[in-house]
Symmetry: C2
Subunit: 256 residues, 2 copies
């Protein structure tokens, strides 16, 4: 029997997770290990400085007071029996897109990344919308993609970051990450005790949606499937940096 | 005058940050914007669900109750005047290594990554040790590397992840990320009220320290300089995944 781990960063009670879970039942046994509350922007953070609580809701659902990365590592190393590790991990469906550079801040992507690092193929799913979330379409795409990954596998260290456009879906495009030219807008307010506080928001402008990028695909009404690597090495830069003279400077060694 | 932004994930009062700040004064004006408390394992997380406090300690030091990513985005978009943006951002010196896959969990690396995404060249510095931190050697290497980056620049979207070995330094190697074959060990205890809690730890075994990797360089006593990309696209996998038939399956579109 195929085993499927479902997680997310919007929290265990979010609509997107519930729709994903329902859809995945078509493919096998589903286990849900997800944050107890919203963890958007958690990136690949792992909780090391404090203990975590695992709350088992029933024999298929666990809520954790931590990040998506905590959830996946606890699922694979504590909650699920070692002989019953999942065949795949799907993370989402996120309420909002994870396109371009935003993938690096995303807890949704991090859930799939953590599974990938621990040897379980991972897929992250996000719905590019602010309201009117068409989870039915997104869940159907999740099933098709998961089925394909279960059949074909993924290269070691590679995960899929899937973004679903709002509105009518024209098809699927395999894409590369685009570059976001966004400037965060920091709002400043005064609290009831008269002290200032700051809130990080974001103003999008001039998104670089060149052809072939995830931004472009979604703008054109296509599902964007971006393969991401856990290895961030810039292989192109390796050679250039190796020629830097300082690497041979004896000065460095004397000082050190 | 060269302007240098210093941040870290161990917190504004950590030794590694103070040593880095002192060393950087050799190169220009130094501004420190760092987490008020320890943020190890914060990865590239951005605090979106709650407000942040900025505590100005003097005209060169700000402490923030957030992550390294929060610190860098606030430094560049709120704290420093737009006409005085830094020429470089150095993050560290971390108390402990950030090698292989661990780079993706690291708040130290994330500080440099955030600067890179916002258009400021970034360097992350970590000292591979558990105690007896030789910050003098690490700070000297930080100065040499920062000087080189200020002279040569870095490719757009590329940052440097520098790990300094313990003990005598034999030289510098430009490396790729290694793969950690570590299994997290989750410890379980009972709290004073009789309820279980879990703490994520890590047991290293069989680290894959092939020649050319960051692990190998540090093991051999060399400083490891790994260029990392903010773009995680797996370009090799693009073609393979494009051939998947499901991309053309009309079934997908009908369902969606």
């Amino acid at each position: 029997m195929t085993r499927i781990l479902v997680t997310n960063d919007d929290g265990i009670h979010s609509d997107g997770l519930q729709k994903l879970e329902e859809a995945m039942r078509e493919l096998g046994d589903v286990y849900v290990v997800a944050p107890a509350s919203e963890m958007s922007g958690a990136s690949h953070s792992l909780t090391l400085a404090r203990p975590l609580r695992i709350r088992q809701l029933d024999n298929r659902h666990w809520a954790i007071d931590g990040t998506p990365t905590d959830c996946v590592t606890l699922a694979l190393n504590k909650i699920l029996p070692p002989e019953e590790l999942p065949d795949i991990c799907v993370s989402g469906i996120n309420h909002g897109g994870n396109l371009g550079d935003d993938a690096t801040y995303s807890g949704t992507v991090a859930g799939a990344l953590e599974a990938t690092i621990l040897g379980v193929p991972g897929i992250a799913l996000s719905l590019v919308a602010r309201d009117h979330f068409n989870f039915a379409a997104a869940a159907s795409i999740a099933v098709t993609a998961a089925k394909k990954v279960l059949e074909e596998g993924l290269p070691e260290g590679t995960l899929l970051n899937i973004n679903i456009p709002p509105g009518e879906i024209k098809g699927v495009k395999v894409t590369r990450q685009g570059i976001k030219n966004a400037r965060p807008v920091i709002t400043e307010h005064i609290d009831p005790r008269g002290k200032p506080y700051f809130w990080i928001g974001e103003e999008y402008f001039n998104t670089n949606s060149a052809e072939g990028t995830d931004y472009y695909a979604v703008e054109m009404g296509y599902v964007s499937v971006t393969p991401l690597r856990s290895d961030m090495t810039d292989h192109q830069a390796l050679t250039a940096i190796e020629t830097w003279n300082y690497l041979k400077e004896p000065e460095l060694l004397q000082k050190g």
